[in-house]
Symmetry: none
Subunit: 201 residues, 4 copies
DNA sequence: TATGAATGAGCCTTCATTCAT
DNA sequence: AATGAATGAAGGCTCATTCAT
């Protein structure tokens, strides 16, 4: 009983979280109400507040979940076998694909970037996530390039930031004024060129 | 008489607009209320609605104003005398400076990018502005590089998009997780390197 | 000058009054705003308040004007030559016609009936108008019937009230749930029958 | 539990409805605010919106309730034992009594008549109610008179309309310019005379 | 664990009215 | 005589949150 109700509660909580991601992506972070989220989760408003004390707390958990989903997909692509360059290439492709397709998690994180300006807790969490991801990219990605003899022109940490910022910038621009199919084809080629320009031979 | 009244009204309207930019930048697009804006403008709520029928209409005018301010500063930097490369370099520096310093207009436009997802009118206006600015950059900036014998590896239109997206991406990341002084020093060098990588010799 | 500007002012005032009748009839007494009325009169809101200190005062003048128009039409029909019965018949027809066609003045007065419950000044004015009109009907209409040898079963004052109340009741019901053409044909025949029933031979 | 909550809600909803009838009758349909109604119901404004999505929806429910109360009282009087003529007489008396005493429901319905001109939903509902009530009167009232050998001079449906219109007209006139006690005494006698004039022997 | 009832603060908007010109 | 700018109160409504059950 303790066990099963724990499980049930845990499942409900996740159900709310999943509904929140979908709803926040669809309606916008500030437009979506607790009621909307509850409706998507097929629950009552009260239930949402049972699982998350605050809208604030809900936001924080949603951010965490979204970031993890995005990061996981990126690193999963990297983890597939292949040469270092191939793997990096594949990871970038995956990171771009999520943004190009505007998966809910990306939409939500984009909104958090902006919301974070008014919300120190979100900003803190987001900054922490960003730092960690950049470090990850440096540690397990860029370091391979160096092992291959490439010499970065800029600090690797900044290179990671630039990569992510460019992806997010393209993501946001794409959501407002979509890339044409031709432009889409150019994205990856260009990102590769940029990477090579930064890690010059 | 009619004249001075008219002038007064025009000035008041601009006063509201300026107050709106400041307030929206400080409090956030969705958090700032008409009351806040009115207070910043030292006016009554009613006065704001006298000058702008809607919050919506106010938004559109604010967007217009912000975009114009930003664009004007960028092109003003380009218009100063110098070699083509110098002028482009200077324009990029200026575009970056506005973002690095988070001038109110940039903050507001960043928020509009996100709001535009829920707001077709804003999205339309924004997309139109973006297209026009890219075209401008191509026409009066990149075309000079071609005259100098440089050969773009990607379509110039996409190159312009990439430039702006990267700047906006850096802007947003910077607002969440500020660049270190060292990183700030690397921004321009890197943007130059990227430009050269795209317009290869 | 004094003369011509006086005339001008007088004309403007009447212009506002006419616009008010039309607008109040079309939009409803409580929905129509001063702005609406001013727009219909092709004037500024300020002008309306220049001519009428209050919305209240405007209402009172509008009521007066509407009542006069309606009363005048009724008595004009009565004043045409003919036998006493003919003239009464014609007056009733005219009173009904205005209501059936929902001329603006009737619509407005109908609304004043209801508004008067919350508004003593309007109620007083309206009651006074009603009394006077009933007395008029008795004096110049019903008295002829008595001269003809008809004997009223009820007080003539009440008979006048009943006539007007029935007309107004039909008017209001008609505005909600319109009479069919067949019913329209029955109205006058029935009103005649009622009159005869009251003034029995 | 669920049960008692549900019951509580149902009771609260009715409490709001009752408060609305009283408040709308006292303050007028367009003057009474949601706040007023909430105060009368000893509830918060939010509670009113919890039970009724709209002021509009509240209006519709109020109209329904008022009409039902009025209709029920009329037909209850008719349902008491007695001869057909007695029962009709009694019903008319009751219908008049409610109007003479200006019970809240009558006041509110009178206001709805006027509001319905600007409000299609209300007009539709009201027209439907009116038609049904007329039909009722014809079916269970007037048809008895015919069985007694009376021959109507006008269509029975129109006779029903005339009866109700006359009552409502008297009601409205009475609310503006009250009947004298003598006049009050004449109302029923006159209505009877009219009925006989219409259903002649 | 979960719900539904209820609250109260705050928001955008409308509008009659005032006033300088 | 007339206007346009500006005000401030009030209104309907939304929403996160609380709480008894």
């Amino acid at each position: 009983m303790g066990r099963s109700s724990y499980r049930k509660s845990e499942a409900s909580r996740q159900q709310v979280l999943d509904a929140a991601v979908v709803t926040l992506a669809a309606r916008g972070l500030t437009e979506a109400s607790v009621k909307d989220i509850a409706a998507t989760a097929h629950m009552s408003k009260g239930a949402v507040h049972y699982h998350f004390e605050n809208k604030e707390e809900l936001y924080e958990r949603v951010l965490e979940q979204c970031w993890n989903v995005i990061e996981k997909r990126g690193f999963a692509a990297f983890d597939e076998p292949g040469s270092a360059l191939d793997r990096i290439h594949r990871a970038i492709l995956e990171m771009w694909a999520m943004r190009r397709d505007a998966v809910p998690e990306v939409r939500v994180v984009d909104e958090f970037y902006v919301m974070s300006r008014q919300n120190p807790a979100i900003r803190g969490a987001l900054a922490e996530h960003m730092r960690r991801t950049r470090q990850h990219i440096v540690n397990i990605g860029f370091s391979r390039l160096i092992e291959l003899g490439l010499k970065p022109k800029v600090s690797m940490h900044f290179a990671a930031r630039l990569l992510l910022a460019t992806l997010d910038g393209l993501s946001i621009h794409h959501s407002v004024d979509p890339l044409t199919p031709e432009e889409e084809g150019e994205v990856l080629r260009t990102l590769d060129a940029i990477l090579l320009a930064i890690f010059e031979i």
